[in-house]
Symmetry: C2
């Protein structure tokens, strides 16, 4: 059988197909000439760092290696505790009582930081908290006091608390109390102020201080008595519902806030006088973000139950103070692994741009640490309009986070992914191995105190924190450096 040459050439020359591993630039030329390219997003483990790579190799799950067995067993326990978590909103109490916060003590978001290194919004919020507590008479005096060393600063995380953005907690502020019944842990967060001029973005004018006083005198006590009337609110169930209603539990909390209000409204009316009930319900009606702080405390209570397991590479906190990004790992105790924090990549409100943005800020990345927020973007396609991107990007973020996590949380099913659970239990090993940084949905604060939110976007955790954590974890297990 004979074929003419051109036909044979066409039949015999298969279409050029390329699988590219790693850098995309290698296939740009063949792709431009019509080749079909499947890109495998691969980077050398540990960004090519030899010491981290060797430590990582010793920590891999390996039945024949006692260290590998230890890490695998420790992670299994950590994941089990994460999935078993049952956070209940039980009370709202003054931080003074709940956290044992004393005079001249303030908590802030992120890893530890001294006044002289703090960013604008955090300094502004500290000035506001000092004025609110009456420790100084005016902003200038408050700033002098803060700089004098007479105020004791500590991370919220060091007291079992979490705070969005600046995350300042002072003794008179009411905090929600969330008990993780399964883990025996308890976590706290301040009450969410809503948008506009608010302390967490560093504002401290009269309206901000008035709202804080109303929180202290009215909202906090009212919610406390309502919760004792209603009994605890199951935040796992409520969050599970909200994830089927367009929330991702970090930047979008409209469903959870609405479900909470609907659940609590009768108890609020039962517990306080009518005028107070109206004021409380009016505030909750106007604040779509109210649930954020509850979401954060719920995640914190779950993650604390998984913290402190020797050998575990599960990440139990990610947080930012506007200067440093810090993480904690279950098996390395209370040490923070930090790196400079970047500006989120996102959309800015009209009139603002990246040059106005403060580097990423707040304890709210605790939601991603537990596997919601940016990890549950598939639940909230509507949010991509807010942070930039398309609905299919939202699915992709969640799928990608599946590659650095150890489990899917069946309590948090994602309808758009055929009811797969949210990816949960960030494994620092997988982050270092894959070079895939955890994604964090975040608001963007103006770098000057008090201007407020100027945008929203996506931040990526710096990989070097995870690499340092892996080396330290290896050291705790006797792996030579």
């Amino acid at each position: 059988m004979a074929l003419d040459a051109a036909m044979a050439s066409r039949l015999l020359r298969p279409e050029l197909r390329i699988i590219n591993v790693g850098l995309a630039m290698f296939v740009e030329a063949p792709e431009a000439h019509g080749a079909r390219v499947a890109a495998l997003d691969w980077r050398p483990p540990a960004e090519g760092d030899r010491a981290t790579g060797l430590a990582l190799a010793r920590l891999e799950d390996d039945d024949r290696d006692p260290i590998g067995r230890t890490v695998a067993a420790a992670n299994a326990i950590a994941v089990e505790r994460l999935l078993a978590a049952q956070p209940l909103l039980t009370d709202v109490r003054p931080a003074r009582d709940a956290l044992g916060l004393g005079e001249r003590q303030l908590l802030h978001a992120g890893p530890p930081i001294a006044w002289d290194r703090m960013c604008g919004p955090v300094r502004g919020a500290i000035v506001g908290a000092i004025l609110f507590e009456g420790w100084a008479a005016d902003p200038a005096a408050a700033e002098t006091l803060a700089a004098s060393g007479a105020i004791e600063f500590a991370p919220c995380h060091h007291r079992g608390a979490v705070g969005p953005m600046a995350g300042i907690v002072s003794p008179s502020m009411p905090v929600v109390v969330v008990d993780n019944a399964a883990g025996g842990t308890r976590a706290y967060a301040t009450l969410n102020e809503g948008l506009g001029k608010v302390l967490r973005f560093g504002a401290y004018d009269a309206s901000v201080l008035e709202r804080l006083a109303w929180f202290r005198d009215v909202l906090g006590p009212s919610l406390s008595v309502a919760l004792r009337t209603s009994g605890p609110i199951d935040l796992r169930t409520l969050t599970g519902q909200a994830l089927q209603m367009g929330d991702e539990g970090h930047n979008r909390n409209m469903a959870a806030t609405s479900l909470l209000v609907r659940a609590l409204a009768p108890s609020i009316v039962r517990s306080v006088d009518s005028a107070t009930a109206v004021a409380v319900l009016d505030f909750l009606r106007g604040n779509d973000h109210f649930f954020l702080n509850l979401s954060m405390a719920a995640c914190k209570s779950a993650l604390d139950a998984a913290h402190g397991i020797p050998g575990s590479s599960v990440v139990t906190a990610m947080s930012r103070n506007g200067v440093d990004f810090g993480i904690r790992i279950s098996g390395t105790g209370d040490r923070w692994f930090t790196a400079p924090v970047g500006v989120p990549d996102g959309l800015f409100f009209p009139g603002y741009g990246p040059q106005d943005a403060n580097p990423d800020l707040g304890d709210s990345a605790i939601t991603e640490t537990f596997g919601i927020g940016g990890f549950a973007m598939a639940a909230a396609p509507a949010i991509v309009r807010f942070v930039g991107g398309s609905a299919s990007d939202a699915l992709e973020f969640t799928r990608l986070m599946g590659r650095i996590t150890l489990a899917k949380n069946p309590s948090y099913a994602l309808p758009s992914l055929e009811f797969a659970g949210t990816p949960t239990g960030i494994d620092a090993r997988r982050v270092v191995d894959s070079g895939i940084a955890p994604v964090i949905n975040t608001g963007i604060a103006h770098r000057l105190a008090g201007v407020g939110q100027i945008g929203a976007g996506i931040a990526r955790a710096p990989l070097s924190c995870f690499a340092e954590g892996i080396r330290e974890l290896a050291a705790t297990l006797g792996v030579p450096a």
Copy 2:
């Protein structure tokens, strides 16, 4: 150049690829032998009926034909009115006042039907309404009265109202009042009773009648005064939000109900005494379906604005009375085109099956007529677990309904379809031409009065209603039969 025969044969025999138009059975055999088949879901227009096909051909958009121009212009007006609709919840009033409903007058769901043809749940609900109104002392007497001809029955639709399932409205029942500010139309619906033993499924025991009395004496008047305190609630905005929160506005209304409660709670507390407010908020807390009836009235108010446009082939009502399925078309006035109604295809609660099911029932298909409910399944992937199917099926239903509708509603953006609007404006021509029947999300009632809901599923509108409507529309435009 020479090739061995086997190689040449393999190279020269392209993989068998088939595009099949119409009946799937023609390609079952080649498909079984490995051929790749692209199925084009095509049926002959008008199911092959010659008279309908000829009428349809004359009604097609055609600039050169005065009839074609009339239909196109009429549909443009109808669609413009649908998209402009701005339904506002303004009040809750007794049906007696709002609808002018008098003694011995009852409204029911679906197209007109006489007592002797009514199904079990509708008869049960009528007995309940007669007892509730005090027109008879016991169920037997109520049934005798209903059968005697002394009760005047009419469709809800004939009074600008809509009712889910049996859809019975009696003079003392409170109805929501929804004003479509843009269209100058007003629509009504009863208050939703929740699940379990309820009148709309034909139950009429003491608990059902007590709840109706509480609606009449407490819930209705409380909501009325709260609405006058709060001002009208914009149902278009609220529904648009809910469609981004997992609701589709028919079988799932959890988000809209929660948003409504959050919006109204302060006004409720302001308007009534504390014990009443607690009772009202407690009822709303426990009823995830409360918004359904509001959703229905909102859709009715929009569709009525698009009704009665000479030449328009836009469907302005789809409804079922448990025996007949009926539709109305804008250009054919108040005439109903009916066909026997089938049993929905869906999932049954444990212990029940298709043999227990009543044929499809209720005015709630008004939601699909407006382009939400089954048409907005893409908004509510969580619902497919309830009615059967997968999350990708949900997207497919919405895409499919795009083929029989004239517009996308930009007020109702669907995140999972990259914020495309819901398909709205069912064109009876496209239904007849494509053979694609509108999908309806629906609850399944037991065929015996009072047993209640036994499942949920998907119903398809019977095609013959649309074919009859098209022939009648053609007749109104002078097309010879």
